[in-house]
Amino acid sequence: MLEIVLYVALLTAITPLLGGYIARVFSGEIAIAAVERLTRGCEPQDWKRYARSVLVSSAVFFALLYLILQTQSLHPFNPRGFGSPPWDLAFNTTASFVTNTNWQYYAGETTLSNFSQMAGLTVQNFVSAGVGLAVAIAVIRGFAARSGGALGNFYQDLVRAVVYVLLPLSLVSAAVLIVMGVPQSIDLPVGSQEAIKLLGTNGGGFFNVNSAHPFENPSALSNFFELVLILAIPAALTSTYGRMVGNRRQGWALYAAMLTLFVVAVAVVYVAEGHPTPAMHAAGITGANLEGKEERFGTVGTALFVVVTTAASCGAVNGAMEALSGIGGLVPMAQMQTGEVIFGGVGSGLTTMLMFVLLAVFLCGLMVGRTPELLGKKIGAHEIELTVLGTIGVPLLVLVTTALSLTKWGLVSMSTSGPQGFSEALYAYTSQANNNGSAFAGYTGFVQPANGPAYGIVFANLLGGFTMLLGRFVPLLAVLAIAGSLSHQRVAPAGAGTFQTDSATFVVVLIGVIVLVALLTFVPALLLGPVVQGMTHQLF
């Protein structure tokens, strides 16, 4: 319990510090001349040009990573002599890392060379987080703009995100992790990947069991440190937002809404995992559900990690998600199904949350019969259409892809049947569509039999890959378009009838809207899987 209180206190303390630093980086106050010279010719872009740069660079990074994975047999730093993975697995993995998802159908230590891990995946861990951060900053600029349509330059923002924010934080964090016992050698370059895996809310582990492996997460202390790394930047961005729009209370309001949902989630998982599961009950075992958990983390350290990693779109895990109790497993799913707005991914969490803010403002406007506005800007039909696309699009994607996965082509990916099998599929497409990357890991798209060659399940790899790409780029384009549209609007002075978006009332409304959208979309699906298991002692 103390661990949870300490964690919340520390996160709250870090938020304004790191958030302020990030704001200063992107306003150009913190600048190294040699670095700034790299992007000298980059002129400000409107939202369409900014979006084009995001898409073109993502396409290039996609091609490069796919190439690296497909030529693995030729790499240096391949001590165990791995061949190249099948094309469909390489596609899924590439889509996964370019979209900051880090969904992994493969087991790192038995599939990928150290060159692929470093030059392929680690690079994408930085870049996909950098893209998310850059887009978030561009969106904030659009919301804050007093006049004119420029959102900044994508390449300049990306370089700043990587050089001033992600790289220095990763170097320091990796050093701390290495001191705590995470290996960093030619054969096991774990620490360097671990740091950015968490800071960038990526989540793709060096090892198959991710942060449950003693080499990725050696102690209770390293576990706490890793938890801080995951939420540090997503939480800080609320403060960056408040500063850049010139009203810090706006940022704290978002933080309060996120933190409230977060604390409720932690409490539920902590209580749920403190009791034996039906299977333990049947075997006569009492005590906490330690199946699939590490002793050094216990129920508190695991519950906190489960909630942190799915609140952020990180997806790193320090225990088996599939072994969570019914209700314990419901929480991570539900958190992802909010659209990853409870802190969320680096950048993407804030931008999706801003769309929920627009939705909340719109609903309030309908209720009192006034034109909705945010930060003094009128929210029109165009913005609301885009907001609906950005907030409802991904939940819709989850439902459609989950349904598709219940066809005969999808069933082979499940390791079990009944409600658990359904939960595996629902979790898989919830996680991929929301770019989280954690999994009920019995669900597979890549089979490595003890004897005989490994092969990919083409259907799961393709459906998952396209789901991740849509889940990343549809909301990203929608929110950039909204920012572009808002950037042209004049700011009207606040009047007596202006709805305050930095008040406690608004925080409550915002939470209500988020919960309502998620509940209305997903309750029937959740009932079929985790709720059934959580409400009964029945074995299947």
Binding site: V60, L64, Q184, P214, M280, G284, I285, G292, R296
Partner: protein, 173 residues
């Protein structure tokens, strides 16, 4: 075209800096400052001690305690297969410890002792589990029980009620 050129240059430059310079520089520094620690400490990885019952035993593992081919057990909370597996672990634990702790029942077993860890190479067991095992270890090694219990207390983690089995067994030898 200019757009594409810019993206390609960015991709190659970032790959060099983030994919090679960053991890290799860290590796160089780590190997220089913490040569053994940075190779990965053996005491962090749980091992199979079942060949020698005079030692403390690790938690059950479905991966044969392999540190380089890890996977989760991935059994759901309401699965019959998991219940059967757990019953097997309970039976094995009782068979192993009951001769030294008469009257030991399933509900007395700390749950960590009969559930699989996440990594399959969990190096730790709960203090309660170790205290039950202490009876067997003391009898097999002809040591006073009090001494074995004192050893557990001495190795207890500062962060919770658990002990590292590797270190405990090292101290016994």
């Amino acid at each position: 075209m200019r757009e594409l050129r810019r993206a390609v240059i960015a991709a190659l430059a970032l790959t060099l800096v983030l994919g090679l310079a960053y991890p290799l520089a860290l590796t160089g520094a780590a190997q220089l400052v913490l040569p053994h620690r940075a190779d990965g400490q053996a005491s962090l990885i749980g091992r199979d001690y079942s060949k020698d019952l005079s030692l403390f035993q690790s938690r059950p593992s479905v991966t044969g305690y392999a540190p380089d081919a890890t996977f989760f057990d991935n059994q759901g909370p309401n699965q019959k297969a998991l219940a059967a597996q757990l019953r097997g672990y309970v039976r094995a634990y009782l068979q192993r410890e009951r001769p030294y702790t008469p009257g030991l029942r399933a509900q007395d077993i700390p749950s960590d002792a009969v559930t699989t860890s996440a990594s399959g190479v969990d190096p730790d067991i709960s203090v309660a589990n170790a205290r039950i095992q202490a009876h067997r270890v003391a009898a097999r090694r002809h040591l006073p029980l009090a001494r074995v219990l004192a050893l557990i207390d001495a190795h207890r983690s500062a962060f919770g009620s658990f002990v590292n089995v590797n270190e405990l067994n090292q101290a016994l030898r």
